[in-house]
């Protein structure tokens, strides 16, 4: 037997302060209220730091700082804005290891992912949009596209720094200024990013970071000084925001939930399909809006595929997220763990068969084993509701048309996967799937040059690529 010895990444590289204020107008400031919140390492339940919870007055202060910075920033030649963004991108690369460890500590995701996926994409995103800042006239939005003003941005906890990059990079490139609220359970990399803004000598007020929970987010998106709202998170909250913005002139982009079908045909490259299924639902503990949470497998190969999938699940390594060999980290919060448990229990209660590999669970922290459900029907809650955890629902189909019908039979429309070696079938499927991203013979690939976003209740607007500029420009 070949057991890998523990290979933990050192956490000495990060310097977490005991307490954080708000980052407004280029300065660390104390909130007006007393309320503070502890952010914990979900793998150990250890308290990492205390962060401020911004109230309405704090949000107002941040929006005013952003509004004050807007004339300067928007009037700056694009080439100069570009250089700031390039500078930020470089600093991120230089501090990548530190930021990866910090992300893993605060979020619970494996260091392999924060190191090999999140951080490279964060830097790439800033590099990509840096290049747009002085080329906006060529982006197809008219000869002189104008920024909108102050962008209020609210991001989730699943890819804290990456979502920050998706929000801030295009906003700044287009000449907007930003007030960003990170998720309450994962504020630390956003606060580190505030330091990076200072390190880059970014003009004060161009980026403001206010920490807090839903109330802070609501204060931000509803602030009359905000011209643009960008939100990534649950469809439930997205709905509330869309409603609250009715009648305003605020531009809104939403990147919300999903219940993606990962469709495997009988002629699929099976070993890669198994990898794609695993990557589709167990990447980042399944805390991925575009996760391939519904496996639709052609009935003729279902038994073989499931056997291969179970064998593969048996090799997944769950545990210390800082261990470089960990595949599955911790669930981000007790609350999320409860939700995953609740839906999994519903799956069993509704008659689906539950399976997990033998998988030791650490004593402390929030953990959920990789789980799959077979015998799932379209009507089961686990086939309809976003679980946002490492839980896969397996359904079968007989014909391509049935696969399309089942895949589209959801209010969501963020992503889908298609596995076949037959190109004409792939293109036929891709054209019929009502989803913003279709991964064919791959899954969960991201790139700053590639637009991302959903159909239907998965939200509107695109992030990434040329398309990602549109949400930050007055057309």
């Amino acid at each position: 037997m070949f057991e890998y010895a523990p290979a933990p990444e050192s956490r000495d590289i990060v310097d977490i302060r005991p307490s954080y204020g708000l980052f407004i107008n280029g300065e660390w400031v104390e909130p007006q209220g007393e309320e503070r919140h502890k952010t914990v390492n979900p793998a150990t339940e250890e308290v990492l730091a205390e962060v401020a919870w911004a109230g309405e007055a704090d949000v107002d202060r941040a929006v005013q700082a952003a509004a004050k910075a807007f004339p300067v920033w928007s009037a700056m030649p694009g080439a100069e804005r570009a250089k700031y963004l390039f500078r930020i991108a470089r600093i991120i690369q230089e501090r990548a290891r530190e930021l990866a460890v910090l992300e893993t500590l605060d979020n619970g995701k494996p260091i392999r992912e924060s190191r090999d996926v999140d951080l490279p994409l964060v830097a790439a995103h800033f590099f990509y949009y840096a290049g747009w800042a002085d080329k906006l006239a060529y982006a197809g939005f008219g000869p002189d596209p104008r920024p909108l003003g102050v962008a209020g941005q609210v991001i989730p906890w699943n890819f804290p720094l990456l979502m920050l990059a998706w929000k801030i990079a295009p906003a700044l490139a287009c000449g907007n200024t930003v007030v960003l609220k990170p998720a309450e359970t994962t504020p630390l990399t956003a606060l580190a990013f505030a330091d990076i803004c200072r390190q880059a000598d970014l003009p004060p007020g161009v980026v403001n970071i206010v920490t807090g929970a839903g109330g802070t987010g609501a204060a931000l998106v509803n602030h009359p000084g905000v011209d643009k709202v960008a939100f990534t998170g649950s469809t439930e909250v997205g709905r509330l925001i869309a409603r609250s913005l009715a009648g305003t002139r605020k531009k809104l982009t939403l990147e919300l939930g999903g219940k993606a079908a990962n469709i495997v045909f009988d002629d699929a490259p099976l070993d890669q399909a198994v990898e794609g299924i695993v990557n589709g639902i167990f990447f980042n503990q399944g805390h991925v809006c575009c996760a391939g949470s519904r496996l639709l497998v052609q009935e003729s190969i279902a038994a073989d595929l499931l056997e291969a999938l179970k064998r593969r699940l048996g090799t997944l390594r769950l545990g210390d997220p800082l261990d470089k060999n960990t595949d599955i980290g911790a669930i981000n919060s007790a609350e999320q763990l409860a939700k995953i448990r609740e839906l999994s229990e519903a799956g069993e209660a509704e008659g689906a068969e539950r399976w997990s590999p033998a998988c030791p669970i650490p004593d402390r922290g929030y953990w959920f084993p990789p789980t799959l459900f077979t015998g799932v029907a379209q009507s089961h809650r686990i086939a309809r509701e976003e679980i946002f955890g490492p839980v896969l629902s397996v359904l079968t189909f007989r014909t391509p048309a049935e696969a399309v019908e089942k895949a589209n039979n959801t209010p969501y429309g963020l992503s889908a996967g298609v596995w076949t070696e037959k190109a004409s079938l792939m293109l036929w499927m891709a054209s019929r799937l009502r989803a913003g991203v279709v991964w064919s013979n791959t899954f969960n690939r991201f790139d700053p040059a590639s637009p991302f976003g959903g159909f239907k209740e998965s939200g509107y607007g695109r992030e990434g690529g040329r398309h990602g500029l549109e949400g930050y420009l007055a057309l």
Binding site: M1, F2, E3, Y4, A5, P6, A7, R112, D116, D267, A268, P269, L270, D271, Q272, E275, G276, T315, K324, N325, E421, N441, T442
Partner: protein, 330 residues
Amino acid sequence: MTTPLAEVASSPSTLRAFLHGLPGVDRVGADARAAMLGTRSIKTTAKKQAIDMAIRMVDLTTLEGADTPGKVRAMCAKAVRPDPGDSSVPPVAAVCVYPDLVATAVEALAGSGVKVASVATSFPSGRSSLEVKVAETSLAVAAGAAEIDMVIDRGAFLAGDYLKVYEEIVATKEACGRAGGAQGGRRAGGAQGGQGAHLKVILETGELATYDNVRRASWLAMIAGADFIKTSTGKVSPAATLPVTLVMLEAVRDFLAATGRKVGVKPAGGIRTTKDAIKYLVLVNETAGPDWLDPDWFRLGASSLLNDLLMQRQKMATGRYAGPDYFTLD
């Protein structure tokens, strides 16, 4: 002997239908999986274990036109006792030489437990008649080779003449068993339990070009009776790669499930560092499974790799980085 799935080779069309009915391999996905496994961090005790395992899996190889008995004897000495200063270093699995030097190697390794492998079948090109290939195999086995590393006819494979490739492997396999009377042959371990020489089938994956072809050639060789499937001759670039080895490991895993017969895998060529070797072991561990982590089921065809393994081994023991002057060049 009965070969599982032999009936698929009853005609060119059934063989073709079977091989082309295997699931395809997506190159990008296979590359990504191999690269991800390449990021596994093998440290401390696991690294120690891996280094010794890798040493025991080495097929120490010399396949040069300039090979001489002297060169082969020197290599055999190294194979038995890789580090003269440290008796805890295990011997390698085998030495691999050209057929005419088998007798020299057999003599040098007598009683050591290190096996003698011989390339055969007009290595490396395989461009000769079947009679010559069979004769060469028989002579090598008669000279005491416990293992035969044959090459497939890549021309026939790429021309779609799978049955020709199949029949050559079957014939070579027969030659391995028929001529198996010398001492080396009896010592052959693994699946055949001492029945004739062990047959490793070199696919020369660098010439097969696609992963689909690698998968088909792997199955073709296994159906024809290969005890091992081996990536490369070392004479064609690219030689062994992680993703090609991944595809072959998937093949032996699936072949066992389909037939109950276990086949070994040998990447060869281009594996020079301990880091590389450990990546291969991780690949085995997480693809075919730990059952394959044994010299009977996994080999590393290499020459310069051994000294790097020894240097890393010494570094782990002493805490100091090692220097090449302290290891023998043979």
